[in-house]
Amino acid sequence: MKINLTLKIRRQSGPDEKGQFRTYPSGPISTEISFLEMLDILNERLTREGEEPVAFDHDCREGICGTCGAVVNGIPHGPEKKTTLCQLHMRHFKEGDTLVIEPFRARALKLEKDLVVDRSAFDQIIREGGYVSVNTGSAPEANTIPVPQNTAEQAMNGAECIGCGACVAACPNASAMLFVGAKISQLALLPQGGPERSRRALAMVKKMDELGFGNCGNERECEAACPKGISIRNIARMNREFLRAAICSEEE
């Protein structure tokens, strides 16, 4: 089946330029294609017509690398639950729909061009302790660290985060707590994360604040927008880890 849509896309030619919405007809497009393939078709047309194509980030197109992302009609990654933009398929739209497409915006995410944003703040947070400090070669035999199945599953629930930034874009306070909570939870649940538990929570939260991410106001918008369905229980766990470290530990 083919449908025709109106695309209102926010264009901005550079970080310091002014942005504006431009409207493009999609032309007839197959409902079998993905959202990004629809943008590909638009870009091919713009290129042939001598206009600059819309810059947008993407790579795996399988919903796992976390590179893609835009706000579609007010919702990061668009209207389908638990679906990244690259996995959103056009069968979910109807003839005549208008789609407003904007980049992820937040104080800590700088806009580069059109729909491309800078998410390096996430790297800076992970750098502060989002890992277990173990040098290559010094690991014990793997099965000497048993982990209850349920614990491993819960850790995996946090570890699944793809770092796309939808949580930040969805949050009225531009908070990164779902992202940070997911990593802190994964490592706090596992025995391997134990020794650095306190230091990790303190350092990562500190960095998150420094970078200008806001606080959690319990709106749960992040959870609703997360393409991987990461639960806000991870934020609760992060808060607990932080408090525990701030009150009970010797770490600075």
Binding site: D40, D59, E62, Q87, R127, A139, A152, E160, Q192
Partner: protein, 636 residues
């Protein structure tokens, strides 16, 4: 071109130890005087960069994406092999070695593969210590599943996201080194040139993808971990940015390129939906543990699958290969799917698909158990196709997936250019003519965590610690060459877009150098590629400017390289007049239509050498087998 594989002496099981003992070491105090460039932050690149920095070297790590955590390895689904024998089902280092050599159809080096099997266990230890949440049994021990080409259960996995979890583990290790000052990350950078000084690799030229600036980076050694080149076929399961450019530029500076035509076509991908398809999605091989592959017995039978009675279905893999059944290696499964479709038994409107059916498994184990095992893969399938595999069989078809070919490396992972190393999918090393499932993650991490960090000292110990000067003429020249190429792409101002050319190239390659190849088709491909390349340089349109974020320009540079490289793939496929692994030459088949390998004439690695304005020259590394006899590879 001199090809010395530097395989250490001694019995197979002791070679790696012998090598490490014989290697020169760099003292800890001297290590920080050496700078190493690592291009790529997939599994191979991040694990290497992190480990080298742990050892005390100064590392610069480059990637195309906005952060190292997104390298293409992140998409690996199914799992990673290791010879732990936790299931007590007869696995061993020797068996993993044997399966890999046999799976590769006896076209890989024994010594390398044995080392890989030896190291496999330590990778699992390392990943677990990093907090990679692998699947567990109820008792808290690590769980396993099986993959094609093996009769034991040796694959470790984290749901359907093993690559993601392993990569995030390596990325964590990398970020820890960034924090400690040992690694500098240069994201959104594309390597455009390799710089050699007096025949040794000493740096790279990159383009900053945000600003368009070209930059020079000098070092004492350069490590390429830039992944595979499957995107030369346009449609593949690879990430959109996967490319050949980095290793192609290195090839043009003197690095030999081995077995470029060894391209793995994965049997279980979601079939093509139409002309605007931008990539193909893999459905993990692990699905073949429980899914049964079939087509209707009668060609042209277009009834929906549930209306085709059992007796009228052809479970062709189970019938033809009773010992391995649905778990035959990938090349065998892909070839057979194509054969069935060529016979007119393919399903769906296009006739280019076969069924992968879970009904039996659901009946046997219950819907819940199957959903738990494959839930996220099923969801992905449904998101893309709108159909639920719990209710009707999946439809699948082969797609380009992995490249066994790559830069030739010796036992130390050094290319034919001194100081230049290649890791992971970018090298040719361990998988011969066909890679077994769950072995690429193993190889990438073996290369990065354990092998390169143990071998690079042997080279650096003989290299001056004086800093390399990026102001040297060689750097300026390379920078000029890169800038000129970019300018040329922007000034053609023709009519056809990059994607248009890329799609046409992909079609030529798939039609003539895909699952089955023959002399006539390959020769035709050569003519077509040459003509297309000519048109590309005369009729390409690239919008936008050079000093800017310009994604069309990025793609244009990559496609320009694919257009040169494709010709070498075809030449390699022509030269190999035998069928082995993924490489099926239709002229070389037995009476029963099975591939015929020719050990007498082709038990070698074909290594291509670049020559300016001349066709590349083929050099041979002969392969000898002392520990396994190259038998006929049978999965019956």
């Amino acid at each position: 071109m001199k090809l010395d594989a530097k395989i250490p002496g001694g019995p197979l099981a002791e070679k790696w130890d012998n090598h490490r003992f014989a290697s020169k070491l760099v003292s800890p105090a001297n290590r920080r005087k050496y700078e190493i460039i690592v291009v790529g932050s997939g599994l191979a690149g991040s694990s290497a960069a992190a480990t080298l920095a742990e050892q005390g070297y100064r590392v610069k790590n480059f990637c195309l994406q906005d952060t190292p955590r997104r390298g293409h390895s992140i998409a690996a689904q199914g799992g990673i092999n290791a010879a732990k024998n936790y299931q007590n089902d007869g696995d061993s280092i020797f068996r993993l070695f044997y399966d890999t050599i046999k799976g590769g159809d006896f076209r890989a080096r024994e010594a390398n593969v044995y080392r890989l099997a030896q190291i496999s266990n330590r990778i699992i230890d390392q990943a677990v210590a990093q907090g990679v949440p692998f699947a567990r049994d109820y008792g808290g021990q690590l769980a396993n599943r099986s993959f094609g080409g093996a009769q034991v259960s040796r694959t470790f996995y984290a749901r359907g996201q093993t690559g993601q979890q392993l990569l995030l583990g390596a990325y964590g290790a990398l970020m820890r080194q960034v924090k400690q000052g040992g690694v500098e990350i240069l994201a959104r950078r594309e390597m455009l040139e390799l710089v050699t000084i007096e025949g040794e690799a000493r740096g790279i030229v990159t383009r900053n993808l945000l600003t368009g600036e070209t930059e020079r980076h000098a070092a004492h050694a350069v490590v390429l971990a830039t992944g595979g080149y499957g995107n030369v076929y346009f449609l593949s399961t690879n990430a959109m940015s996967s490319n050949v450019s980095a290793i192609w530029r290195a090839h043009k500076k003197g690095a030999g390129f081995a077995n470029p035509s060894f391209v793995q076509i994965h049997p279980t991908c979601i079939p093509v939906h139409g002309e605007h398809q931008s990539k193909l999605t893999l459905m993990s091989e692990s699905l073949r543990n429980d899914g049964r592959v079939w087509v209707p017995k009668t060609p042209g039978d277009k009834r929906p699958p549930n209306q085709i009675p059992e007796a009228e279905r052809d479970y062709y893999l189970e019938n033809k290969y009773p010992a391995f059944g649905n778990m035959v290696p990938r090349d065998v499964a892909s070839r057979n799917a194509k054969e069935q479709c060529d016979l007119g038994k393919g399903v769906t409107e296009t006739g280019l698909a076969v069924y992968l059916d879970f009904a039996g498994a659901i009946e046997r184990n219950g819907a819940e158990a199957i959903r738990k095992k494959y839930g996220n893969l099923f969801e992905m399938y449904e998101r893309i196709t709108g159909r639920d595999p719990m209710r009707q069989p999946m439809t699948i078809y082969p797609a380009v997936h992995y490249t066994m070919g790559g830069l030739w490396v010796d036992y130390e992972l050094m290319t034919t250019l001194p100081g230049l190393y290649a890791l992971g999918e970018a090298n040719f090393s361990d998988h011969g003519a066909n890679r077994l499932g769950a072995s690429a993650l193993m190889q990438g991490l073996a290369d990065g965590y354990f092998i390169l960090p143990a071998t690079i000292g042997n080279y650096l110990a003989g290299t001056s610690t004086d800093p390399v000067d990026p102001g040297r003429e060689e750097f300026k020249q390379a920078e000029r060459a890169a800038a000129e190429r970019t300018d040329r792409l922007l000034t053609i101002k023709g009519k056809r877009t990059v994607d248009d050319f890329h799609k046409e190239l992909g079609r030529i390659m798939w039609d003539h150098c895909g699952i089955a190849r023959n002399c006539e088709g390959l020769e035709k491909a050569q003519t077509l590629i040459t003509a297309l390349r000519e048109e590309f340089w005369n009729n390409l349109v690239v919008p936008g400017r050079g000093p800017d974020l310009n994604q069309s320009l990025e793609r244009a540079g990559r496609v320009a390289d694919f257009l040169e490289f494709a010709e070498m793939i075809v030449e390699d496929a022509l030269a190999r007049e035998e069928s082995c692994g993924c490489h099926l030459r239709e002229e070389c088949r037995t009476e029963e239509h099975e591939p015929r390998r020719d050990d007498e004439h082709f038990s070698h690695v074909a290594v291509w050498e670049h020559r300016e304005n001349e066709r590349p020259r083929m050099n041979l590394e002969h392969l000898s087998f002392e520990n396994v006899a190259p038998g006929r590879r049978s999965y019956k």
